[in-house]
């Protein structure tokens, strides 16, 4: 049978439920700017109706709890894009520092190569002119210095990246530890059937931070998430986290080891660490190798040209450049071997006035070196190489930023807090609360009426 008291208890339930919903809304509004926060929706449920003869009276509604509005697929795509962006940005940062050394325009290698050939051409008009000879030697010296400078810049950049690697690995270990701590907490809440939204938000944010540092892959298990990097190197399994380590490799570059001491450097391809390792292990060595090859072959070509002629005193030409026997390190260590300008083997017939052998030197400028290009074309290729690496990193960074923006829009569309929406909800729950309160007042009045039935006051 319907009763005033049951109506009152329905109203009281409604007041409770609406207070809860207001609190959830309030929490959403408070966390509108919390990174990684997922908006929560109050879950109202109709209470089982009370049967009364042929009638079923509704028993009102209760607040069952709240539900976090999540999209795990979007989360994981954001993770992937964040890895790609971290890698691109790390590469771009170094390449932008390297770039200017290749085209400083006054002292770069390209300018010094053409200055050396110009000085040789100038010497051909007057092979006995000692200042022209001196000019060739100093142009050679400048070229060697340009090679040394660029090579040293690259090497010191390469070494400086070690600091970045150490920091990245420390952060990865730190984040892994925090993720591992959350795993049993989330599992515990899930076991008791509670919403794990808040802790999951924290964990998702930590995984995202981790994605900015390295390539991670996340799998759900009953014990919480398992996080791996590289090709399956575990970082977090259940409540356990596994720390990465860095050790100096043979070349002085830091190598990354997993918890078993196996070298996993090559498998780390994403995030800041991936990009930094890519720059340190691939990009810079590639550029150094191009420079070393050019320095070695150009130096050797000059030495061969020297050997084909005679110096100012009629003696067979000696080496112009000191070139190491191995290609590696040639750009760093190339230097001018000749100390006396008279040692330039300009002569083809042994007389001091002959410039016949200078044609052999001039030919180096136009003939392909063993690497398949003329020295200037080879250097232009290196410039192209540097430029396009930086350009690609830039393009990758821009593209991932745009893509991340899209994905974040989508995620925000699903999980983000809209102040306007929450304000509307606030009005809805406020109105509902007011209505429930009015019900209480009304029932109270009805009780009064009932109490006064048959008394004087009723008349």
């Amino acid at each position: 049978m319907a009763s005033l008291s049951s109506a009152l208890s329905i109203a009281a339930q409604a007041l409770n439920a609406d207070t809860g919903a207001l609190q959830i809304t309030d929490n959403n509004i408070s966390n509108a700017n919390t990174p990684g926060y997922t908006r929560k929706l109050p879950v109202f449920e109709e209470v089982q109706p009370t049967p009364d003869g042929n009638l079923d009276y509704g028993s009102g509604a209760v607040l069952e709890g709240y539900q976090s509005v999540r999209d795990e697929l979007l989360q994981s795509r954001i993770g992937q894009e964040t890895q790609a962006q971290g890698s691109a940005n790390a590469q771009l940062a170094t390449l932008q520092q390297i770039q200017p050394t290749f085209t400083s325009s006054t002292q770069d290698i390209g300018t010094e190569i053409s200055a050396l050939f110009s000085s040789i051409s100038a010497l051909s008009t007057d092979p006995t002119n000692s200042s022209s000879r001196e000019a060739v030697l100093s142009a050679g010296q400048n070229l060697a210095t340009a090679f040394n400078t660029v090579s040293n810049t690259l090497t010191s950049q390469q070494t400086a990246l070690n600091t970045q690697i150490t920091q990245d690995v420390n952060q990865i270990n730190n984040l892994s530890q925090q993720i591992a701590v959350l795993n049993p907490q989330i599992a515990g809440l899930e076991a008791s059937g509670q919403d794990t939204g808040t802790l999951q938000d924290q964990q998702d944010q930590l995984v995202l931070d981790l994605s900015a540092l390295t390539n991670v892959s996340v799998t759900q298990t009953p014990l919480g998430i398992t996080v791996t990097t590289g090709t399956g190197t575990p970082l977090v399994v259940g409540a356990q986290n596994y720390a990465l380590e860095t050790v100096p490799g043979s070349s002085g570059d830091l190598q990354v080891l997993d918890q078993n001491g196996s070298n996993v450097t090559a498998s780390i391809t994403g995030g800041d660490l991936g990009g930094t390792l890519q720059t340190q292990e691939q990009t810079i060595p590639g550029l150094l190798n191009s420079l070393d090859t050019l320095a070695n072959q150009l130096g050797t070509a000059f030495n061969n040209a020297q050997a084909a002629g005679f110096d100012e005193n009629g003696a067979a030409g000696k080496n112009f450049f000191n070139v190491p026997t191995t290609v590696a390190g040639s750009a760093a260590s190339i230097s001018v071997a000749l100390t006396n300008p008279a040692g330039i083997a300009a002569s083809s017939d042994g007389t001091s006035g002959s410039d016949g052998n200078l044609a052999t030197f001039a030919a180096i400028q136009n003939d392909p070196l063993p690497l398949g290009q003329t020295p200037e074309d080879a250097y232009a290729s290196v410039v192209y190489q540097v430029g396009s690496l930086a350009d690609n990193a830039q393009a990758e960074s821009t593209a991932t930023a745009a893509s991340l923006q899209q994905l974040n829009d989508q995620l925000s569309s699903v999980s983000g807090v809209s102040i306007d929406e929450e304000s509307t909800n606030l009005i809805t729950y406020q109105t509902a609360y007011e209505a429930a309160a009015r019900v209480v007042t009304t029932i109270q009045a009805l009780f009064q009426t009932t109490m006064l039935m048959g008394t004087a006051a009723a008349e």
Binding site: T111, S118, S412, S413, V417
Partner: protein, 401 residues
């Protein structure tokens, strides 16, 4: 789509718009479209090769300037030789008339002697310390008075012996004024003074040197080169074992000259595929071929001892030498005018290259300025839109509670 928050989108748009604005501003303020290789890797690479080509063109232009002066020096020396030969010819005509007395002829011979000295001086013209008619051997005067005997110094230590090893790689030359040829002895390891003597005898036997030319050690341990011909020889060596080799005092042969330069030319690059020779070997002009010195010596001898006919013949020989010199000047003049036209070509080339460089890396200012204006407009629009939209919430419209 549900939109939760406009701030991230607005931030992103502002960022994008400001990047575009910064790029446009950089282009306008630097005037460059390519500030670093990553702005346009292909253009940056082409710029490197184009700069190298420009450096070559600049150097070719400088080479032309240097060569032109050098060749003009040679040309004006030959011009002076032509004037001298004309003088010698008119002197020859005076001396060749039947009315000229012996003493007149002697006086004329003396004047021709002066002409010869002038021609020898022209043959030894140098430009900035380099002899222009010596072939690639620019460091020694190419035309040298010959002597019948040359000797090493008496003070050479240790005293020379037949078995004395010479310095490997050193070169000793004997130039014969009669044959006009030069015998060159390059020492190979183990060769001694007796090998040198044998080689000289061999050269005298095969005709490089006049028959009877020898190089022998005398009682004072001096190596003495003796000419087999009355015209004499010129000897030079850079071997420190032999030391300085000088003409024996009094053995110089008057009016007999040998060419000690070589026949090699120095080629200088003045274009990517254009080389010109920067000097002129003088042997074909002065001592053989046209043989200006020979013709003048002949005229002097004819004036001193010859008949009118002989003087007339000698004068005719000087005339043909004059024609020869004029002919030799033609390629020289051609080279000079070739250099002039190459210089103006290089001037154009330099302009073409710098235009090319500009188009590779320079910003088109009209385009850059337009881009900047567009970027500015877009940036203001983005900022204005953000300013209008972001502060708006439903709360603005709700009555105060």
């Amino acid at each position: 789509m549900r939109v939760a928050d406009l701030v991230p989108d607005a931030e992103y748009s502002i960022q994008q718009s400001e990047q575009t604005l910064a790029a446009a501003l950089k282009q306008v303020s630097t005037g460059l479209r390519v500030n670093q290789p990553s702005d346009d890797p292909a253009a940056a690479a082409n710029y490197v090769t184009s700069l190298a080509a420009s450096a070559n063109v600049d150097q070719y232009t400088k080479n032309i300037t240097a060569l032109t002066s050098q060749l003009q020096t040679a040309d004006s020396a030959l011009g002076s030789v032509v004037t001298s030969l004309n003088t010698a010819i008119s002197l020859g005509y005076q001396g060749g008339t039947g009315t000229a007395s012996t003493s007149d002829r002697q006086a004329i011979a003396n004047q021709v002697q002066g002409v010869l000295n002038n021609v020898v001086a022209q043959a030894n013209t140098s430009y900035q310390g380099a002899y222009v008619f010596g072939g690639s051997d620019t460091s020694t005067a190419p035309v040298v008075e010959a002597a019948t005997a040359y000797t090493t110094a008496a003070t050479v230590q240790p005293p020379l012996t037949a078995t004395q090893p010479l310095t490997p790689g050193s070169i000793t030359t004997v130039t014969d004024a009669t044959t006009g040829k030069t015998f060159i002895f390059t020492v190979t390891p183990g060769e001694t003074i007796s090998d040198l003597s044998a080689a000289v005898a061999n050269a005298a036997a095969n005709g490089t040197l006049s028959a009877g030319t020898t190089a022998t050690l005398n009682a004072n341990n001096q190596l003495v080169f003796t000419s087999g011909s009355s015209q004499g020889i010129v000897v030079a060596s850079n071997d420190p074992v032999l030391g300085a080799i000088t003409a024996v005092s009094g053995s110089q042969v008057a009016n007999s000259y040998a060419y000690v330069g070589n026949g090699n030319v120095n080629n200088v690059q003045v274009g990517d595929s254009l080389q010109v020779s920067g000097n002129l070997p003088g042997d074909q002009i002065f001592t053989s071929g046209t043989n200006v010195i020979g013709a003048l010596t002949g005229l002097i001898n004819a004036l001193q001892t010859g008949t009118s006919t002989q003087i007339q013949n000698a004068t005719a020989a000087v005339s043909s030498a004059l024609a020869g010199v004029s002919q030799q000047r033609v390629p020289l003049d051609n080279t000079i005018s070739q250099l002039n036209s190459q210089e103006s070509y290089l001037g154009q080339e330099s302009v073409t290259l710098s235009t090319n460089q500009n188009s590779l890396v320079d910003a088109d200012l009209a385009v850059a300025a337009t881009n900047l204006a567009q970027a500015e407009t877009q940036n203001s629009a983005v900022l204005a839109a953000a300013a209008r939209v972001l502060p708006q919430t439903l709360l603005d419209y709700l009555p105060p509670a």
